[in-house]
């Protein structure tokens, strides 16, 4: 605790500090010497090529490594979504993902191919990641967004030969421009023109501008001259902020802005071989003991060396207030108070009183919470948060949110800063980049379990959090061609089990949709083929959304049965009979291929029926089309087309029984009793004669019904008599048959008005029958 200010260095009003982030885990033979290095902002990964392409996390863990076999790489850079760009001499840009997998490539145009590239820069803007190139012909070519590639060739710069002495890409007024220096002359190049500009108040001793740097936000510009002067001002070149004489005349190796947002202090970090200079209104020098690379960040500069990774930044004012030696700021007092309280000393009370007397306890708590966010050491964070929490106890109505959310943020930050993850984000950067983006980055690094833990911990709505991570996870598996659904069990071990069960079900759906849009169809089908669950889900989807795809899918699988069904369904959507028949014919073919004889035959019969119906509709003006065979027969019989009905009956091999039932009902319905009688006598009824009785009764013609009672078999006699309401007849039949059940049935139908004698006979018969 006491040494917290040990690494602070005053620079004008402010202090600067250098914090060690990691001891690098890589083992580089010669450090970073002779390496082409690019490190991504926001604690991103580090790439390095020559002769081997290596990708490391910020803590130096190797993520990919392979020999470089394409043409020489002249420039490396990272995109906003952590892809590595390798720019070759001829302007070909190759894109790799974090794990060294080649994604795609593009060219910066013919002019670059012809004249070769001299220098290239990768830059970030609200439009995405861009690439700018200056060629051997001293012409600039620019792509503002590599994902939506539009090459722009900028106008010629008068008098420029070879490469400019230094240049930078600016984004101003929603336009991307190039600022370049040719000797002492400064030009701004935009789409249409090349404008000479003069920075206000630039030291007149300078003959040439040798280096320039644009701040992270594109708001500020720094120029370094051959006279050793450093000019700092606004990027629009209207205001000058300060100018310092560094007394070093060698051109620097690297120059970057180091300024935290809202700070009053302009400051630039300039690096020579072994010297690092922080220049603001004053200067502070650090010596470097190894080859290093500076990475500009939103609120500081990271310095990556062969063995160490450090963060150089202005000490935030909250931390200054608290930790500055002999500070009397409320936060500092509160921290003291808490320290004393821990020691059980009464001084705690004195400090507290002092704060309370000035009524700045709220401010004190706020300072402690804020400062905790800026500290890297978990122990320091804890001390500050404990002090804040202690202070909060003496306040009523102090809103808990800032404290709680800071605790959460820090937990997340400490987790991602961990050596194994290697994302050294500061709190300011984290807030700027948002949780969503952080989750995306973790996902991109395949750190799914951590991403899920964070989502759960922050209670991110499942849909934006956990589900999204799972989706990516599933896709990643799918794309690598792993049999993700069925063989996942053995592959997923340990913590990744987490995801397994969840993915198997509802997320498959979204994943399948996702894949469908991402992959080409052939590959997609092939991928699905081995995944029964996913395949059936996709079928469901197609059933609702894309009928034609469904067909292709069945085709690919040689699923002839389903193809047949598909054509059948499709046939019902057709209005024209010919189209309908041709679809049904396709169904027949498929059913035959599927060796489903029954279905093929039934479909052929349906076609035959449809043709028959159409013919009759045309000839006789019936409306039969689409009716079932039974309905057709019924319609024909009721309209007296007996001949045609007979023909259908034979052609379609309708079982006799059913045909008799059909004809019987049809005749009864149109009260054609004469025809019915003829029919009954035509041959022996396969359904017996009880149906005749019942059908007549149903049509309320008991007279006709009686004609058939005598023809009924003995077993059905009772039923037949009862049907026509002939109780006596029923009784006779039942007694004849000596059946207890039937006698009881007849008895149950007797009423108080029934003849007493009959009742007695029945009862007697029943008792004899039951004795049997």
């Amino acid at each position: 605790m006491a040494f917290i200010t040990a690494n602070w260095n005053p620079l004008g009003e402010a202090f600067y500090r250098k914090i060690e982030l990691y001891e690098m885990g890589w083992s580089l033979r010669d450090g970073l010497k002779d390496c082409l290095v690019a490190a991504a902002p926001y604690g991103g990964p580090i790439g390095d090529a020559r002769p081997q392409l290596e990708i490391y996390s910020s803590s130096g863990t190797n993520m990919a490594s392979f020999p470089w076999k394409s043409g020489p790489v002249r420039q490396l850079g990272w995109t906003v979504c952590d892809d590595l760009l390798c720019i070759q001499e001829d302007g070909t840009v190759l894109i790799y993902d974090l794990f060294g997998a080649f994604k795609r490539h593009f060219s910066m145009g013919n002019e670059v191919v012809q004249n070769q590239m001299l220098e290239a820069k990768v830059f970030h803007s609200p439009y995405g990641t861009g690439v700018a190139i200056v060629t051997g012909a001293s012409r600039f070519t620019l792509a503002t967004n590599i994902d939506d590639l539009k090459l722009r060739r900028l106008p010629e710069v008068p008098g420029l030969q070879g490469a400019p002495s230094c240049w930078a890409v600016l984004t101003q007024d929603r336009q991307t421009k190039v600022l370049l220096a040719n000797g002492a002359d400064l030009y701004i190049l935009d789409n249409t023109s090349c404008t000479p500009v003069t920075p206000p108040g630039l030291s007149p001793q300078a003959c040439s501008i040798v280096n320039m740097a644009v701040s992270f936000s594109y708001k500020y510009l720094a120029l370094f001259t051959d006279s050793g002067h450093l000019w700092m001002g606004s990027a629009n070149l209207k205001d000058k902020l300060s100018e310092v004489d560094t007394k070093v005349r060698t051109p620097p190796k690297q120059m970057v802005w180091c300024r935290r947002p809202k700070s009053q202090q302009p400051s630039v970090v300039i690096m020579w071989d072994r010297l690092l200079l922080v220049a603001g209104e004053r200067q502070h020098k650090y010596t470097l003991d190894e080859e290093s690379v500076c990475v500009a960040e939103l609120d500081g500069v990271r310095i990556v060396g062969g063995s160490r990774h450090e963060l150089l930044q202005e000490v935030p004012s909250a931390c200054q207030d608290i930790f500055k030696i002999a500070s009397m700021a409320p936060g500092a007092l509160l921290l003291e108070a808490h320290k004393e309280y821990d020691k059980s000393s009464q001084k705690a009370d004195e400090y507290l009183r002092e704060i309370k007397e000035q009524s700045v306890l709220g401010e004190a708590v706020r300072q402690c919470v804020e400062a905790a966010g800026y500290e890297h050491e978990p122990e320091t964070q804890k001390t500050l948060l404990r002090a804040a929490s202690f202070g909060k106890c003496f306040l009523s109505n102090y809103p808990p949110e800032p404290f709680v959310s800071m605790c959460r943020d820090l937990k997340v930050l400490n987790a991602v800063r961990d050596y194994t993850v290697g994302i050294p984000l500061t709190h300011t950067q984290y807030k700027q980049m948002t949780v969503q983006v952080l989750i995306d980055r973790l996902v991109y690094r395949k750190l799914y379990p951590l991403a899920i833990e964070i989502c759960r911990y922050l209670k991110t709505p499942e849909y934006q959090g956990v589900s999204r991570v799972l989706k990516h996870w599933a896709c990643a598996f799918c794309q690598t061609g792993v049999n993700f659904l069925d063989d996942m069990g053995p592959i997923m071990s340990g913590e990744n089990q987490t995801l397994h069960s969840t993915v198997r079900t509802s997320y498959q759906r979204s994943m399948v949709t996702y894949l469908k849009n991402e992959m080409n169809r052939g590959d997609f089908f092939m991928t699905l083929r081995n995944q029964p669950v996913a395949l059936s889900l996709y079928r469901q989807f197609c059933k609702h959304q894309e009928q034609d795809t469904l067909k292709d899918l069945f085709n690919q699988d040689d699923d002839h049965q389903e193809l047949g069904n598909f054509y059948v369904k499709a046939s019902y959507k057709e209005k024209k009979l010919e189209a309908r028949l041709s679809l049904l014919q396709s169904a027949v073919d498929e059913y035959n291929k599927a060796k489903n004889e029954f279905a093929a035959k039934a479909t052929e019969e349906e076609m035959k029926l449809l043709r028959f119906q159409r013919r009759l509709d045309e000839e006789k003006g019936e409306a039969l089309l689409g009716l079932s065979l039974q309905e057709t027969l019924h319609a024909l019989l009721t309209s007296n087309f007996h001949k045609q009905a007979e023909q259908l009956y034979r052609d379609f091999r309708v079982p006799d029984k059913r045909y008799w039932w059909l004809k019987l009902t049809a005749l009864a319905e149109k009260d054609d009793w004469e025809e019915m009688e003829k029919f009954a006598k035509s041959k022996k009824s396969p359904i017996g004669y009880l149906p005749f009785v019942e059908v007549c009764v149903k049509q309320h013609n008991k007279y006709e019904a009686k004609k058939y009672v005598s023809k009924v078999t003995p077993e059905q006699k009772v039923k037949a008599h009862l049907a026509i309401g002939d109780l006596e007849g029923a009784a006779e039949a039942a007694i004849d048959r000596r059946s207890e059940g039937e006698i009881s049935t007849v008895l149950s139908r007797c009423s108080p008005t029934t003849d007493r004698a009959l009742l007695e006979r029945l009862n007697r018969a029943r008792s004899t029958a039951s004795k049997k």
């Binding site: 499942e462 849909y463 089990q497 987490t498 397994h500 069960s501 969840t502 198997r504 079900t505 509802s506 759906r509 979204s510 949709t513 029964p532 669950v533 059936s536 889900l537 079928r539 469901q540 989807f541 609702h544 959304q545 049965q561 069904n565 059948v568 369904k569 046939s571 019902y572 959507k573 057709e574 209005k575 029954f598 279905a599 039934a602 479909t603 019969e605 349906e606 029926l609 689409g626 009716l627 079932s628 065979l629 039974q630 379609f652 309708v654 079982p655 029984k657 059913r658 039932w661 059909l662 359904i687 019942e694 149903k698 009862l722 059940g741 009881s744 049935t745 149950s748 139908r749 009423s751």
Partner: protein, 628 residues
Amino acid sequence: MSAHLSYGRVNLNILREAARKELREFLDKCAGSKAIVWDEYLTGPFGLIAQYSLLKEHEVEKMFTLKGGRLPAADVKNIIFFVRPRLELMDIIAENVISEDKMHSPRDFHILFVPRRSMLCEQRLKEQGVLGSLINIDEYILDLIPYDGDLLSMESEGAFRECYLESDQTSLYHTAKGLMTLQALYGTIPQIFGKGECARHVANMMLRMKREFAGSQTQILPVFDSLLLLDRNIDLLTPLATQLTYEDNLRGLCRFVYGVLDLCYVKLPPEKFAAQKKQVEVGKDLPTEPKKMQLNSAEELYAEIRDKNFNAIGAALSKKAKIISAAFEERHNAKTVGEIKQFVSQLPHMQAARSSLANHTSIAELIKDITKRLLLILVDRGKWIFSLFLSHSDSASEAFFDNLTVEQEFMTGVDTDKVNTYIEDCIAQKDPLIKILRLVCMQSVCNNGLKQKILDYYKREILQTYGYEHMLTLNNLEKTGLLKPQTSTRNNYPTIRKTLKLWMEDANEQNPNDISYVYSGYAPLSIRLTQVLARPGWRSIEEVLKMLPGPHFEERQQLPAGLHKKRQQGENRTTLVFFLGGVTYAEIAALRFLSQMEDGGTEYIIATTKLINGTSWIKSLMDRPEAP
């Protein structure tokens, strides 16, 4: 409304409260007055969770049914759509949102998906260009809905079809999730048993989910001793059989005859109740509206009679009537002021009982209108004789009787390998297709598949009579195993029937002593499995289990230290039986019967993806191509 949930062995009201809390939280997210636009399918399930009064407390002023066109006028700040994640519903929402009059009183739109959000749906809303107009899109995870003191359902209508026909296991995932929620509220269930592919799948998911949440173990004394997961396809026979309990009949009747059934409410035609209108509560119901009765154990009399075989209903009702009138007669004996006072204090309860009795008597009569009181079943030397006590013949009741006879023949294995004349006759007379399908499927199930020739014959008869378009339905039935060609010559159904005692010759409907009373002789296979599991255990029926589809298994879940239950002497075990793919009321009745058996030793809580009956079940498997 919810009191009946807390009476049972397991207080299911806790689950309901948890669901209510979440609903309130969502409603409060949309500040200001609101109107809810309902996906009609959801009103039933929601009715079990929250009444209008709760919604009203959270500033819900209007409720509409989701339909196309423009939303009705309502002076509210928020419009909330409560919908299932279905694409066709998204189109309606889009139509609603687009046709909203933007100039006149802008309203905020929100969607609450039940039970899960879906990317496809959001994609669809995006395509329709309305995604941006929706302020809140949220999900309301309503997996298991408490139906009654011992009954939970997910009301997922397509679950059986999805699992067994379309291999879509989403509903199983929801099941596992629902069971996890249940365990969070009622403690880890130490033992899991199961039979069937889906059961295995759900158990696997549960175990994995448990491992994932290993850190956040609930410190709750387990309420359930075991969980039994059963696939519907191990017992396809039970739902095919005609259901005979009062509850089944009542629900069947209302759905069938009057076409209105409100999950837990039945609506009955008013004319049947006009006569007792005066003595029944003078309710809000207008005389022209159908009578609405809530059907769950909150209704005392209903709870008593619902699981009885329909044949025993008459006796039960008249017994109850005697008790009630005796109680009313008490007033003549009341002499002292104290006695009169006591009598008066009981009056409301008695009046409620009387009116409820009157209602059920009317209902019972209504059912008899249909079934014509035909079921007085006599047993004569092992042969069934049905005697009809009818004043005149009625073909409807005879059909019912014939149907039942055939079903029972199939279940006892009589002539299941031949073309059945009754089925032939029914087809010839063009009886409802569903009835035919039920019978044919039943024959196939009871014969472990039909000979190819017989199967083709039935199929051809059906296509010729009801139309070729049913080809697809037949195909579906074959895919789910309800219809199948016989592959081996050996029919193992008789072995199953004998080992599990699926057929009891002496079923007693009036005073049941075995679960077979629910089907007047047939004991549902699923319930026998449950019963055997409790005692003596599945090891005794290993052979039969192998004949049924899918694996059977047992899993144990570690309990946190100190939560091991010490059972008191004579204390019953509590088992949660989960039917994947649906459960019938008859099965529920049988399980309730087992719970009440004095020496049973186990009480059952029932959960399912959907409450089904044979008709609704077969219907869910039908496919009808639409004509243009």
